[in-house]
């Protein structure tokens, strides 16, 4: 296109998702504030949170996630796989996942994945963006409850088993909703501003109360419980951003 004749199209994109599944330095997933490892489960890249970046992550910083911690996770996972025995895999183990898939495939509900996802994206953009307030976040909590409820009534056209990308998108929407829940509740809970979390109603950083990681646990739809993990400070202490 010629910028002299037409306006340049600009589209916002999600740059990076900070936070994620907490892991050790070897990519092993941990499940609580005591760093209890979930044996055999690994996370790496954008999904994981080794807490490499602090409360803000700068452009291309994720290279560290990939090159260093992706490699470490791979090495450790390979080592684990070599020494571990196979588990007995029964129908029972498959039950929950299979149920999830079958429920979506057999649903005759009227809700459509694409429409629901568009609503989720728009409302998250409006209410849980970089600058947020308690009021907006509370509003988003209610919206998410409603979306969660409608998600139970989604149905899909494609009932096939081969490359059912519609089913994949439907499953992914469920995960998006859950991640959104964790994000919104945590942001509402954290009454300070830190890094990329900018509460307009709490503009100051509060090290006394909030120098800690949030661990969010889903209790039920619309309900999230929190635990906290201490921040390991190395040579660098958090300082105010004054430039």
């Amino acid at each position: 296109m010629d910028p002299l004749k037409e306006p340049v199209p600009v589209m916002p994109t999600a740059h990076y998702a900070m936070g994620g599944i907490p892991t050790t330095l070897w990519g092993q997933v941990i499940k609580d504030e005591k760093n209890t490892v979930v044996p055999g489960l690994y996370a790496a890249g954008e999904a994981a949170c080794v807490s490499l970046h602090g409360a803000n992550r700068l452009g291309t910083n994720s290279l560290g996630d990939l090159v260093v911690f992706g490699r470490r996770a791979g090495i450790h996972a390979a080592r684990f796989a070599r020494d571990a025995d196979y588990h007995e895999l029964t129908e029972e183990h498959l039950g929950e996942s299979r149920e999830r898939i079958e429920r979506i495939k057999n649903s005759t509900g009227k809700e459509k994945v694409a429409a629901l996802r568009a609503e989720l994206q728009q409302s998250m953009m409006d209410n849980a963006s970089v600058f947020r307030t308690g009021e907006l976040l509370q509003k988003q909590v209610e919206i998410l409850k409603e979306l969660m409820d409608r998600y139970k009534r989604i149905s899909i056209d494609d009932k096939g088993d081969a490359y059912n990308t519609e089913l994949v998108e439907a499953l992914e929407l469920g995960y998006l909703l859950e991640v959104s829940e964790a994000l919104v509740h945590s942001a509402l809970n954290r009454t300070e501003s830190r890094g990329a979390h900018a509460r307009e109603d709490y503009p100051e950083r509060d090290d006394e109360n909030w120098l800690k990681h949030t661990l969010a646990y889903k209790v039920e739809d619309g309900k999230v419980a929190f635990r906290y993990k201490p921040v390991v400070l190395g040579r660098f202490e958090p300082k105010a951003r004054t430039y």
Binding site: A114, I156, D157, G160, A162, Y163, T165
Partner: protein, 232 residues
């Protein structure tokens, strides 16, 4: 504007052979073909299957045969195509469903040229240094995103499934001409066989199809000459 989108579809569970399906889509001239496919999938027919990931021409997953040419759906604008757009899966690879093909033969060829640095010499104290000129020698090949646009536009690859294909040769070029690499003879083995680089008939479809504007044919010819001068 209204766009007529014709898609060559195939569902292994129902169809014996591919069939054309036509959709009417409302589109902006600046929409990408990927946007149109999304509109169909999200609001008209959810069973349409295609691969895409980043949507920015980097991941290389949405190469398709659009209006008779291989292109990335995420980099092709409606205004450059007109109001009737045909979309088919890339050719020469088995179709799994609709626009999704089995990429395994493509990646088998990729693996055959050993697309990684080979150097058994003891590592130096610090980096293996390289001058800007030495780096520039193989720069074009590094732009490859393995989308298979080139290989599946090649008339030889369509009829001869064993041909290693332009993409693998570009990857070989990237290491053959790297001053730090010592593995060119190993790569020449894969490239010199009956299904290797000598199968290239310089039809230039690969060069024209490359969404990264790599001069594919030129790199292939450089590889041919490298093997030639190495043997005589």
């Amino acid at each position: 504007m209204q766009v007529t989108l014709k898609i060559l579809r195939f569902d292994p569970a129902k169809d014996k052979k591919p069939r054309w399906e036509t959709y009417q889509v409302e589109a902006e001239p600046t929409d990408r073909v990927l946007d149109l496919l999304h509109k169909v999938k999200w609001y008209q027919d959810g069973s349409l299957a295609f691969r895409r990931s980043c949507g920015h021409g980097i991941c290389g997953s949405d190469a398709m045969l659009i209006n008779g040419k291989n292109r990335l759906a995420c980099k092709t604008l409606v205004k450059d195509l007109g109001s009737v757009i045909t979309v088919e899966p890339i050719r020469g690879l088995p179709v799994e469903k609709d626009l999704i093909v089995d990429m395994e033969p493509f990646f088998a060829a990729y693996r055959a040229v050993k697309p990684y640095l080979i150097n058994d010499e003891p590592p130096p104290q610090r980096e293996r240094l390289q001058s800007p000129e030495e780096r520039a020698r193989f720069d074009q090949g590094t732009k490859c995103i393995l989308c298979a646009s080139c290989t599946t536009s090649c008339p030889v690859f369509w009829v001869n499934g064993t041909y290693i294909g332009p993409a693998a040769i570009v990857q070989a070029h990237r290491f053959i001409f790297d001053s730090r690499d010592r593995g060119k003879r190993e790569r020449f083995k894969a490239l010199g066989s009956g299904s290797g680089v000598w199968r290239c008939r310089t039809a230039y479809n690969c060069t024209e199809a490359c969404p990264r504007e790599i001069p594919v044919t030129q790199l292939i010819e450089e590889v041919k000459r490298a093997i030639l001068f190495d043997s005589f």
